[in-house]
């Protein structure tokens, strides 16, 4: 066999080894993907994606979820989200991502650190799509729930609150075992943001019982009692603000309580002890969940964000000085040897003036960003935020926009192909802005609880500000009545409400300002007219340069804190 024959065999063996090796890696790595809340997705809303791994290859570092959106008429674009995989080779990852378009499958890739594809799955969405929010049932009920309810098993109940975005209300019936703490926290956060939770907890309370459930329930010190018809019913002390909506045999049967921006309904009998008429009655009392939408507010605030630029008048003065200095110097010294040095010195002074004048506050930014954020705080905290961005550059600008969760972007009815491409990775979305282009990103995330407030008696408000900054604008809202508060200093403090001035001043910040407008919007959306709320707000400015792109961000933040009462 000649040298050429040996070379051919070596190349063949190398190629075969490569193919077999790749196949082995693909075959060994298994991961399952489940998409949607109870297997359903609503286009334009976030949906949970759970990836379950077994025998991950050692090089697997991240997952890339890709959506191809649009068509030839509307325009096509690709959005991708990269998520780190857990260190262990088996386990779950849950993430909530927005579903834009169900026409094409969702592609999930398992990638190595250098971007090599180790495995991939395509998830069909078309059959899972529903048009609007739906009722979600967890556990068993005596009869099927009225309406188009979707059942979800306890194991598939999301642990991320934003994953409930497609739920109209969540009903928790009889379950074999309780929800875990993460699931309760996710539900509590969702309710805090405007969700609607119905808990059936007669004798079943003791299966479901968890500290977070106790926090959610409209009653304190729950105990099991027998009604007149010998049916077991949960009783307890009504919390402040809780309302009994219906009674059976003289015992409260359906109790409602506001929890942040949402509602919790407690049915004091077991889920299996109800008939269809009673379930319909409960449904008629159950408010639909209300998501807080700040897209319009963020766009409006961005419109009013000042442009960083020097003054035209100063440029005109500089020009005048230069135009006067030149003939003045030449007229007096022209032709002499030191005319040029004197002229240079005079213009050097003008250059120094320019240098001093054009400080960082007057340097134009490539990108302007306004974040409208509402932090709703009870015993947990959630953040709902919209970021409106505008490119002020005459050239395309690529920037990493920092976000605190996977963002959703409302897309226009039609767009240029590829113009809406975006990649989410490591807490930032990489976006290329066309000159003058505007974009809006919406995020929902967990937030630390920065404020606690408790009304002791009628006159005294105990406050705790765990942040490090003084929040200048604050007020107390007691059943719709506005009581202005002094600036909230970091640490613990007490405010005597009798010292508060009457509400002749604007509701929050200067009249017509972003804080006041955001407060008006939140007041309506979360129906803050009932109950006691601490509302505080601040506007902060940030300048940031990322890879040659300078961005000026303005944060308009509103804290809505549920006030406890003694």
């Amino acid at each position: 066999m000649g040298r050429r024959g040996l070379s051919s065999i070596a190349i063949f063996l190398t190629f075969t080894g490569f193919v077999v090796g790749s196949w082995t890696v693909f075959a060994a790595s298994t991961f399952d993907v489940t998409v949607g809340l109870a297997g359903r997705v609503v286009p334009g809303r976030l949906a949970p994606i759970r990836l379950t791994f077994a025998d991950l290859p050692s090089g697997a570092t991240r997952l890339c979820i890709t959506q191809h959106i649009g068509n030839a008429w509307r325009g096509e674009t690709t959005l991708s989200y990269e998520i780190p995989v857990p260190d262990t080779d088996c386990g779950d990852v849950e993430v909530a991502i927005p579903i834009y378009d169900a026409a094409r499958p969702l592609r999930v890739l398992l990638l190595s650190a250098d971007g090599r594809r180790l495995a991939e799955r395509d998830v069909e969405l078309r059959s899972r799509t529903v048009d609007d929010a739906f009722q979600v049932a967890v556990g068993a009920f005596s009869v099927p729930l009225p309406g188009q309810a979707a059942s979800v098993s306890l194991a598939d109940l999301p642990k991320t609150w934003s994953a409930y975005a497609a739920a109209e209300s969540v009903w928790i019936g009889r379950v074999r075992s309780g929800l875990d703490a993460e699931q309760w926290d996710a539900l509590a956060r969702w309710v805090l943001s405007g969700g609607s939770l119905v808990v059936f907890a007669g004798a079943d309370l003791f299966v479901l019982d968890a500290p977070r459930l106790r926090d959610l329930l409209p009653i304190l010190n729950p105990s099991l009692a027998e009604r007149g018809d010998n049916a077991p019913a949960l009783t307890g002390d009504l919390r402040s603000g809780a309302i009994t909506l219906a009674r059976r045999e003289g015992v409260p049967w359906l109790i409602q309580r506001r929890y942040g921006g949402g509602n919790v309904l407690l049915v004091t009998t077991d889920a299996l002890a109800l008939d269809a008429a009673e379930l319909s009655e409960i449904r008629s009392h159950t408010p639909s969940s209300r998501g807080l939408c700040l897209v319009g507010a963020a766009s409006e605030f961005l419109d009013l964000q000042p442009i960083d630029r020097p003054s035209r008048w100063v440029a005109a003065v500089l020009t005048s000085l230069a135009a006067v200095t030149l003939p003045a110097v030449v007229g007096r010294l022209g032709g002499r040897r030191w005319a040029a040095p004197v002229l240079c010195a005079a213009f050097a002074v003008l250059a120094l003036f320019s240098w001093i004048y054009t400080d960082s506050a007057r340097v134009g930014s490539d990108l302007y960003r306004t974040n409208a954020t509402v932090l709703i705080e009870g015993s947990l905290g959630v953040s709902v935020s919209s970021s409106a961005l505008c490119s002020a550059s005459r050239q395309p600008v690529t920037a990493g926009v920092g976000v605190d969760a996977v963002p959703y972007e409302p897309l226009p009815p039609s767009f240029e192909p590829g113009s809406r491409d975006a990649t989410y990775r490591d807490g930032a979305v990489r976006i290329t802005f066309a000159p003058g282009e505007r974009r809006v990103l919406v995020t929902q995330s967990d937030a630390p609880v920065e404020f606690r407030a408790r009304l002791t008696g009628d006159e005294e408000l105990r406050l705790s500000n765990r942040g490090s900054r003084v929040i200048e604008d604050a007020l107390l809202l007691v059943d719709g009545e506005v009581l202005p508060l002094p600036p909230l200093e970091p640490g613990e403090g007490t405010v005597y409400l009798s010292d508060s001035a009457s509400d002749t001043m604007g509701p929050l910040g200067p009249e017509g300002g972003p804080l006041g407008r955001l407060f008006a919007l939140v007041k309506d959306s979360l129906t803050l007219e009932r109950g006691t709320w601490l509302v505080a707000g601040e506007i902060t400015e940030r300048m940031r340069t990322d890879g040659g792109t300078s961005a000026h961000a303005r944060d308009v933040t509103l804290y809505v804190v549920e006030v406890g009462r003694d």
Binding site: T319, G335, A339, F347, V363, Q395
Partner: protein
């Protein structure tokens, strides 16, 4: 009495004045009128248009022609003429320095681009100074024809390439630099003034001038 050794005198300051005045006006126009982000949508074509840099490219070239003509009038020759013209062009750049510093706030993060544009406009001005010196030398074309030829060539250099090869025109080259051209493209922008300078300098240095008394 004026001395030929002076870099700037009462007779030769007008080209500088044009540069200072028109670049200043261009700077004023470069400052965006928008006060808030909403205004960006109402005047998208004017916002952030780098008028100043185009004006600088144009009037530095005009300054070069004027300095060349003045040099011919003074009868300057040889290496000394080249050095004097170089220094006069640098004075022109220095007169633009207050504007250049001001303009950095309009286009942030472009320090390197500004330096390249300053170098480019210096080379263009020097090349056109050589051209002006050659065309304005006595007994070559006559005063009227020399003047006409000078400005026809100036307009041709600035405008003609815009029809086909914009980067060969100083205006196109400035645009290329402002848009952050890749190094080979940026190099291409410098080829024309450097080639002109290399080609014209020996002739201009050897040309006879008309010594003013």
């Amino acid at each position: 009495m004026t001395r030929s050794s002076a870099l700037i005198d009462r007779d030769s300051w007008r080209p500088y004045f044009s540069l200072v005045l028109f670049c200043g006006i261009a700077l004023v126009l470069s400052v965006p009128g928008a006060r808030v982000v909403r205004d960006l949508g109402s005047a998208p074509f004017l916002f952030g248009f780098p008028t100043f840099f185009y004006a600088q490219a144009l009037f530095m070239g005009s300054l070069g022609l004027g300095l060349g003509a003045a040099s011919a009038e003074r009868g300057e020759r040889g290496g000394r003429m080249v050095v004097a013209l170089g220094l006069r062009v640098l004075i022109g750049q220095l007169l633009c320095l207050p504007y250049l510093v001001f303009a950095r706030s309009l286009l942030p993060g472009r320090g390197g681009t500004f330096a390249l544009i300053a170098l480019f406009t210096t080379l263009v001005a020097l090349a056109l100074a050589m051209l002006g010196r050659l065309l304005e030398q006595p007994r070559r074309l006559g005063p009227s024809l020399g003047f006409l030829a000078k400005y026809v060539l100036f307009v041709a250099y600035y405008a003609a390439p815009l029809l086909g090869f914009p980067s060969l025109s100083p205006l196109g080259a400035v645009r290329l630099l402002l848009e952050g051209a890749a190094p080979p493209e940026a190099l291409l922008a410098f080829v024309v003034p450097v080639a002109l300078l290399a080609a014209l300098s020996p002739f201009a240095a050897g040309a006879r001038g008309e010594r003013r008394v």
